[in-house]
Symmetry: C2
Subunit: 92 residues, 2 copies
């Protein structure tokens, strides 16, 4: 494999590592949100917050050169996982 490809893959792996650590920290924070929701008897889903998040991320993606539809897909995957965590926490 040419140096160029190997070099690109090293950068991709570094970026993926950064994303994993950010996601780990993100779920630490959403766990706190879940605890708050449980304590305050709030629903696991907050549709207006979710819509605002998706809208914000679409705009940011467009500015940074990332496909906004793809950015929304990633955020939706994350939000769906968070909601599952919240549901389990609230039910526990």
């Amino acid at each position: 494999m040419e140096y160029g490809l190997k070099d690109l893959r090293t950068s991709l792996d570094n970026i993926d590592s950064a994303i994993v650590y950010l996601l780990a920290e993100r779920f630490r924070l959403t766990h706190k949100v879940g605890v708050y929701k449980k304590q305050h008897h709030l629903k696991p889903v907050d549709s207006s917050r979710e819509a605002a998040q998706l809208e914000r991320i679409s705009e940011l993606a467009a500015k940074s050169g990332l496909d906004p539809a793809f950015a929304r897909k990633v955020l939706q995957l994350i939000i769906d996982e968070v909601v599952e965590h919240h549901k389990k926490l609230i039910a526990s």
Copy 2:
């Protein structure tokens, strides 16, 4: 809304912004990988590389406290998008 929840959401938005910028940069890099693949008549998918990426990310997720299955799901979504980009680029 209590300060605590608003504060957590500000942190979540910041993390999401960081992830968007990392993804934007990641697709800039995979575009270069796509150009390389086209020039060298390589397939858009590299199964052994893909398996290695998923394995690496699972281990990293476990270490950082992120659900490895979820980390794989996110990476698979990214890889699938990259492969679509590669296919279009190679066909162009």
